[in-house]
């Protein structure tokens, strides 16, 4: 098996607001290997994006803070780095793609400038080599006529091209880890499929580890090797993509998979989960999913379920699973 690029252990991230401490990420552990894609799936507000920002240490300070846990990247503890050392990791070792391609590019600089900026910052190259790297990054994202595109401004590109340009910025220094935060949500379905295929290709070429944050199980099925299902700040189930679709264990995972629309089933209504996720300010005492769970027991209300390991690569936190 290939090396583990990033290991997150028992990560706790909180936002300190006037209303109190919001535990956005509350004890999350996972790892991702070289050339592997780990998906983090969950509803909006479950802490997926905050997990991504915690790894890069780009939480909106001073409100957001990592309050516990470890983030280890190839032997280095990221939480112990000083700000300057951390900046050297950003863009070079770890990169991130944000959701909205329209607004992720700075409107007043050319695509080439924005890619070249990363290259200049992290690689000590003469100016003519920088340009070659820029064109190379655009090629990696399969942007047609890269020499021309490099001289264009974001408003001159289509939505799909902008998202690729963002990808080119992120991949320009060939990072070891890429965090993709719902990168396909703003794209239409055909472009989305192309974009995902593109990422598989990039991963094959560069062996980058990818953390793919999404709310869409359909996307998970296409790109992820393993998945963590996140609910109210916790990962409730981790498994390989195949196992999770074939045999979901946690009631929340089951419900999520049921709510994916399927073309071959002719049900009148799409399944949806009753109720709302709990407020992160006042979490229930027992299992977080208990109020919405259809198979809950008495103990679920009283005590949080422990994480149960099933085999090598699988774990579930549910009292029903022994």
């Amino acid at each position: 098996m290939s090396n583990i690029v990033l290991q997150v252990e028992d990560l706790h991230t909180s936002f300190f607001t006037r209303a109190g401490e919001v535990k956005a990420v509350d004890g999350v552990s996972f790892y991702v290997r070289e050339g592997e894609t780990f998906g983090i799936v969950g509803e909006s507000g479950c802490g997926k994006s905050v997990t991504g920002l915690s790894i890069l240490r780009l939480l909106p300070e001073p409100a957001g803070q990592v309050v516990g846990g470890k983030i280890i990247m190839e032997g280095k503890s990221l939480l112990e780095l000083n700000p300057k050392q951390m900046r050297a990791y950003r863009g070079k070792m770890i990169s991130m793609i944000l959701q909205d391609p329209m607004s992720s590019l700075n409107p007043v600089y050319t695509i080439g400038d924005q890619i070249g900026e990363s290259v200049r910052l992290h690689q000590d190259l003469p100016e003519n080599m920088v340009e070659a790297e820029v064109i190379d990054a655009l090629r990696l994202l399969r942007i047609p006529s890269p020499e021309m595109r490099a001289r264009e401004y974001p408003f001159q590109l289509s939505g799909g091209m902008r998202q690729r340009a963002v990808g080119a910025i992120a991949m320009s220094c060939r990072p070891r880890l890429l965090i993709a935060d719902e990168p396909t949500t703003a794209l239409d379905a055909t472009i989305q499929a192309q974009y995902i295929a593109l990422f598989e290709d990039i991963q094959e070429k560069t062996n980058v580890a990818i953390i793919f944050i999404t709310h869409d199980f359909g996307v998970v099925a296409r790109i992820c090797d393993r998945v963590g299902v996140m609910y109210a700040g916790k990962i409730v189930e981790t498994a390989s993509t195949r196992d999770i679709f074939k045999n979901p264990k946690h009631p929340y995972t089951k419900a999520l998979i049921q709510s994916v629309p399927q073309l071959d089933k002719k049900d009148e209504r799409l399944f949806s989960i009753e109720g709302q996720p709990p407020s992160l300010l006042r979490l229930p005492k027992g299992c977080r999913f208990y109020p919405r769970c259809t198979v809950s027991m008495d103990i679920c209300k009283e005590q949080e379920p422990p994480e149960v390991k099933i085999g090598e690569n699988r774990s579930v936190s549910c009292w029903r699973v022994k």
Binding site: L98, D100, N106, T110
Partner: protein, 307 residues
């Protein structure tokens, strides 16, 4: 881009003639200067002779024709009050005004950008609160009152600075301070709020994700985007600054265009008022044109438009 500049230039020419005509007729509608110039014991014939001498006995249309003709030849006429060539009077006053206005305006802009950007960067810090406080105070207090209070405190009570005049560098401090106070608060607030909007955007997050140091994120990625709306306001602030100069020059007895304008207006000294208005209009229109062109530098989207 060339077409854009040509169109704006043509608009400036139209605006210029509009201003010229309005000034010309408004002045004449305000009354007759000969009644102010004539002594009370002048006979009717003497007043008529005075009018004929000044050319005021002709119809407005004729007067306009004569005026336009001489302007085209670079002749602004002669002051009715001082019997001096208006061109020479302007030549004396304009440099004095520019010596006061240009450094004040530049200083106000530099300060607003630095203070506004820092306030937005350290949002809700004591520094930000101080900037907000100064901004509100500055917009609430009338400039002329602040100027008079400053004279009272620094010149009269403490005797640190001269009351009026323009002989030494120390003479510049209070009038410049007053002019800066006219423009700084509003501008600073605008820079702060546009900067806050920009700092909240995804491309700023992206710049941080790249690993850029905070000063590059702020001064390169954010500021360039936050320039656009303050630039618009610079064009709109300018007439206000001219007005500010009129008040300031009056308070500090500064021998510039503002004071010239006030004196000439009270005396209905038509040629002087017209000339001052024309020169001011040219300055304001010219700077507005420069502002429009600088948009194109800041925002590539404007540069690439075909209009």
């Amino acid at each position: 881009m060339a077409r854009f500049i040509v169109i704006r230039l043509l608009q400036c020419v139209v605006a210029f003639f509009g201003i010229l005509l309005i000034t010309f007729f408004l002045l004449r509608a305000s009354g007759d200067p000969s009644t102010l110039l004539a002594s009370p014991n002048f006979s009717l014939e003497q007043v008529q002779a005075l009018k004929a001498e000044l050319g005021l006995d002709k119809s407005w249309g004729e007067q306009l024709g004569i005026y336009l003709n001489s302007i085209v030849h670079g002749d602004f006429g002669e002051s009715l009050l001082k019997k001096k060539a208006v061109g020479i009077m302007i030549g004396d006053a304009l440099p004095n005004t520019l010596k006061l206005m240009v450094p004040s305006f530049v200083l106000a802009m530099i300060l607003s950008f630095i203070l506004g950007v820092l306030a937005a960067t350290y949002r809700d810090s004591w520094w930000d609160n101080l900037v907000k406080f100064i901004a509100v105070l500055g917009q609430a207090l009338p400039g002329f009152w602040v100027a008079i209070m400053a004279v009272l405190i620094f010149s009269v009570k403490l005797e640190w600075l001269p009351v009026a005049g323009m002989d030494t560098p120390a003479h510049y401090i209070l009038p410049m301070g007053t002019l800066v106070f006219f423009t700084l608060p509003g501008m600073m607030r605008l820079v702060r709020s546009t900067m806050l909007d920009v700092l909240d955007s995804e491309y700023i997050k992206m710049a941080r994700i790249k690993g850029l140091p905070e000063r590059t994120v702020i001064w390169k990625h954010a500021l360039r985007n936050a320039l656009i709306s303050p630039l618009t306001i610079i064009g709109m602030l300018l007439p206000g600054t001219v007005l500010g100069a009129v008040i300031t020059e009056q308070i500090f007895n500064w021998p510039g265009m503002g004071r010239l304008l006030v004196e000439a207006t009270f005396a209905r000294d038509f040629p002087v008022v017209q000339a001052v208005t024309i020169i001011t209009a040219i300055l304001v229109l010219g700077i507005n044109l420069l502002v429009d062109i600088s948009y194109a530098w800041v925002d590539p989207q404007i540069r690439y438009q075909r209009t």
